[in-house]
Amino acid sequence: MLNPLVQLLDKDAPVLHRYVWMAVLYGLLSGLTLTTLVPVLDHLLAGDVRGAALWLGLMLAGVAICWAWRLQLDRAGVAVGVAILQGARQRIGEHVARLPVGWFTAQNTSRLGHVITQGMMAVAQLPAHVLTPVISGAVTPLVVVVALFLLHWSLGLIALLGLPVLCVALWLTARLGQRADRTYQHHFADASQRMVEFAQAQSVLRAFNGEGASTQLLEQALDQQRRSGMRLIYQSTLSVVLNAWVVQAVFAALLIAAALWLNANQDIAQQSGTVIAVVVALLLTSRFIDPLLEVASYAEILRGAYGQLAEVQSIFAVEPLPEPDQPLAPADSSVEFRQVSLRYAHDQPDVLSGISLRIEPGSMTALVGASGSGKTTLVRLIARFFDATQGSVLIGGVDVRQMSSSQLSARISQIFQDTYLFQGSIADNIRIGSPAASFGEILDAAQQAGLGDLIERLPLGIDTPVGEGGARLSGGERQRITIARALIKNAPILLVDEATAALDAQNQSVIARTLSSLRGRHTVVVIAHQLSTVSMADQIVVLDKGQLVEQGTPAALRGSGGRYAHFLEQRRAARGWRIAVPSNSEQA
């Protein structure tokens, strides 16, 4: 429990250590103060009120110390909370900022957001609400056990033996819960997936509601989730019961032992103080049992918190892209792949294998191939979304891994299909491409990206906020803002993805204009879909199943009768297609 916390806190860990020691000490102080009840009761039961009062003074001093210490302890707990909310959140931020861009999938981003907000908030509350009672609850009985030993060694022995038994029970039940928990999590994830599908495919499910079966798959998943949830309930109830029963069994054993002793030693007991000792010992046992019960009752809550911490750990476990100690500057804006292979995980097949390719500075290269052939991956390797598994990617003769990330990104502009806009105005979002740009330059880029009409239409023009509460922009308009962003950056290498026909006509013509104006001045790598784009290129690269199968000028490849020729044929056929008309149905 504490190890992941220490890791999370890193250089703030002393704050946690301090808090933990204070909590342990608080448990000790509480235990010691509790044990003063022994002399107090001894004297009181023996009829010595004055003697009791003296010891009471000591006890009250103990209470006062505990009280003051508790105040300090809670402050220390808050300090841990603050360290988590501030230090740990910053550390997560710094860590993920160094992760490869390729890591930021939709799933990972939502996980990350959850961890930073709710996750850290929950962890920050741990000291005050959970750790203090658990730590002090575990330490206090240790002190009480010593006192029990002194009072009556056999009772002390029983209590002492109870402790390891309880530890074993706690450990066992934690393991027991884990298995059922994992199965449940598995079914929970299945059902979650079905819910996402239910929402995403709702139109299809409803339209194809064949014989009323549209919710069948989801309901099956829900039933399964319920069944494994039921198993988890039985198991975890069993765990809770087992823990509590072990504690209570120790209690019962102590009771029985004390009663046996009292019955067996009636005669001696009467005349000596031992009977008082045993009675006081019995009273002490309840102070031994109570905190243990409390610790056992927190077991489930601790398991939940552990899940949050494990999630943070898994994020910290992702390796950041290594940065060179002495970055090298690229000589020009050429791009080169040397025997590059990539796989996303060890047990997965190659996404790219053995790619060798040179892209001259100032040339335009069009990537062509079926979806899944590796075009997007190839382009992303240039921008170092991730590193190649084998081989190397070079820019201006320098391995991208030998460049600092700022050097690298200063050389590259990207026009990709995912369009994220920050809160702020249209101008703010364009300025991200070049923070030093003047207002005129921003307006210029916006015009070039085909945003002129939009800016004219909006009352606040280019200063209109985007996103929530701002202008409702269409997908095409949002994308044009990102194009303007890439244009204003004016980096020597431009990466473009026009992967599918999804671009609307206006964006298509903006991209075509952009490409033709940058051609010859910038190194351009474009994932091409349009005939007009490929025909502009100096070099065509055809990919198939992660391999480079053809390469050459459009003219050379067109006549070769290979893949590119086939691609051209397909594109031309697609362009010539007319939707069948009943009156003229043989049209192709």
């Binding site: 009181l44 995403q200 009752s297 200063a410 939707i579």
Partner: protein, 595 residues
């Protein structure tokens, strides 16, 4: 360090919570009562100890039989109490399992009949969040709150009764710390109230900047010129930490005081001091202190646990509110039984149709036209002109705000949903296959279709051979061993529509997600499928629909022009402008000519 004010929250949210829990309320109350009875029984051994102690110290000495009886009663009650508590926990958890399952199914049923447009305006993650995560967070409410309250109430009640029967004066003095606890606690709550607003605002701000940080980081990294997002993230974190400290500082001392007030040491101290005083005054005998020393310190455990659980309750209350809101989502009007009508023929008429997502923004205004059986109608226009909305109205993703759409003379609203989709099929831009076998995906609308029929549909859709090449053929599972490209998925979805054989077909940019190779295959499939059907086609590329019987040009939600290709070109209006802009006249040979 409390972040919530518990007391007012409870009264505020009683509505949704009691509504949501209604079906299991009886069980939960029984579980609470069982837990209370159990908690009472587990305290009996303490009374037993006090009894034995008093006996042992009395002048009469011990009677072994009495000791045994006290012992047996104590241990038996302990066991019985534990059994009851365990039973109560089990009961509450099973009730939780039952109600969450029930709620999830109810949500599925409800959402299956809300307008489809409801889904398009929401991220699928939100739906999952409500169905799965929100309902899960009801757990602390159903599974824990009632039993924990029961246990705490039972323990406190029986303890008080026991102590007051022992000696009312001692009882009053020894429970003094507990009102003290509430005094400090109330002060803590008051302190938190003053800073609550600033704190909640800080929470909102940090959530926003975290969202922006995690979503925008990829963009920031690729531009790197500024660390804008990161620095605003850093600032938000620091600002929140400050707000948190400001919020917590006045809270720490009263909370620590409250906690220290009812710590077992304090309570025991109070009991022993007052006990010693009372014995000194001769009000009680020394052994009479034992019950108080035994029972009173045990009161703080349940009280603290209760405090912790109310803390969780706020979370559950918020979730309950969201779930209830979802369960109250208005459903798409269904024709009352008896009022359902069957369309006569397949002619479709749009009659003065208007639609707006909200009153401020009209997407379509007063659109009227007719789709004659067997003809092809194309809808064109700039992006954002309302084309897709028009198609979705025909598919009844939502209903028009004004006007009506009829199929065979009957308003769509009076046709049963499944009957409607038997007449109108669709192939849309975004393709949705479900996680099931290829066969089940194609036969989704007709589970009883024969293998032969399924294969025929796949052949028409140009995907049969590709399916046979899969490891398990038609039994391959989408996303597992059937990994299709965007274009191939589209062809599976065409096969699915073919199998239903609808007389009317709506096509919305069906090749948009396809790569170059797939586009032709999809086009071939569509040409075969469309033959002899009434077609409504939405297209960006004008040349693909130039042969349509009727072309409707939308602009800003109104029908701008309408006619055949040649007529519209001759009219030199918007269509002619778009045609010229697209450069279609010279299109096909571009690739050859320009190099």
């Amino acid at each position: 360090m409390d972040t919530h004010d518990t007391a007012p929250a409870k009264t505020r949210v009683r509505g949704p919570i009691s509504q949501i829990l209604h079906p299991v309320r009886g069980r939960l109350i029984v579980a609470g009562l069982l837990a209370a009875a159990g908690a009472m029984l587990t305290l009996v051994p303490l009374a037993g100890i006090a009894h034995i102690g008093k006996m042992a110290l009395s002048d009469n000495g011990l009677e072994p039989a009495q000791v045994w009886w006290a012992l047996i009663a104590g241990v038996a009650s302990l066991c019985a109490g534990m059994l009851l508590i365990s039973g109560a926990e089990l009961l509450a958890h099973l009730a939780d399992n039952r109600i969450t399952h029930h709620l999830r199914r109810a949500l599925v049923q409800r959402l299956s009949s809300v307008p489809l447009g409801w889904f398009t305006s929401r991220a699928s993650g939100e739906v999952k969040q409500a169905m799965q995560d929100d309902i899960s967070s009801l757990h602390s409410l159903t599974a824990h709150f009632f039993t924990t309250s029961g246990r705490a109430a039972g323990a406190v009640l029986i303890s008080l009764i026991y102590l007051f029967t022992m000696d009312w004066r001692m009882a009053i003095v020894s429970i003094l710390p507990f009102p003290g606890f509430f005094l400090f606690f109330a002060r803590a709550m008051k302190a938190s109230q003053t800073n609550m607003q600033a704190f909640t605002a800080g929470m909102g701000r940090i959530d926003n900047s975290v969202v922006e940080f995690v979503n925008g980081i990829a963009v920031v990294k690729s531009f790197s010129t500024g660390t804008r997002a990161h620095s605003s993230y850093r600032e938000a974190i620091d600002a929140f930490a400050l707000a948190f400290i400001g919020f917590t500082r006045p809270l720490v001392a009263p909370m620590a005081n409250a906690n220290a007030m009812i710590a077992p040491v304090t309570v025991l101290g109070v009991v022993l001091v007052s006990g010693t005083v009372f014995v000194g005054l001769g009000w009680i005998a020394a052994p009479d202190v034992l019950p108080f020393a035994l029972v009173t310190p045990g009161l703080c455990g349940p009280l603290l646990l209760l405090h912790y659980i109310t803390h969780d309750l706020n979370h559950a209350a918020g979730a309950a509110r969201r779930v209830q809101a979802l369960l109250d989502t208005p459903v798409l009007e269904q024709p009352a039984p008896g009022l359902q009508q069957s369309p006569k023929g397949n002619e479709i008429r749009f009659e003065g149709v208007s639609y707006g997502y909200d009153s401020a923004r009209q997407v379509l205004a007063d659109v009227s036209f007719t789709l004659k059986p067997g003809t092809t109608t194309a809808i064109v226009g700039r992006s954002g002109s309302g084309k897709s909305t028009l198609a979705r109205l025909l598919l009844r993703f939502f209903d028009p705000t004004q006007g009506r759409i009829t199929l065979g003379g009957v308003d769509l609203r009076e046709i049963e949903t499944c009957n409607l989709y038997r007449h109108i099929g669709f192939v849309l831009q975004e393709v949705r296959l479900i996680h099931a076998s290829v066969r089940d995906n194609i036969a989704l609308g007709r589970p009883s279709a024969s293998q032969q029929q399924i294969e025929d549909a796949a052949r028409i859709a140009n995907i049969h051979q590709r399916i046979l090449d899969l490891p398990r053929g038609y039994d391959s599972v989408i996303g597992e061993d059937a990994l299709f490209s965007g274009g191939e998925q589209q062809r599976v979805s065409i096969a699915r529509a073919v199998l239903l054989d609808p007389p009317v077909l709506v096509l919305d940019e069906p090749t948009a997600a396809a790569d170059a190779e797939s586009e032709v295959a999809i086009q071939e499939a569509l040409s075969r499928f469309a033959r002899g059907r009434t077609l409504l086609v939405i297209a960006h590329r004008l040349d693909s629909i130039m042969l349509a019987d009727q072309i409707i040009v939308l602009d800003n939600g109104i029908v701008h022009e309408q006619g055949r290709h040649e007529e519209l070109l001759a009219g030199k209006g918007l269509y002619a402008h778009l045609w010229a802009q697209g450069g279609y006249s010279q299109s096909a040979d571009l690739a050859v000519s320009s190099c």
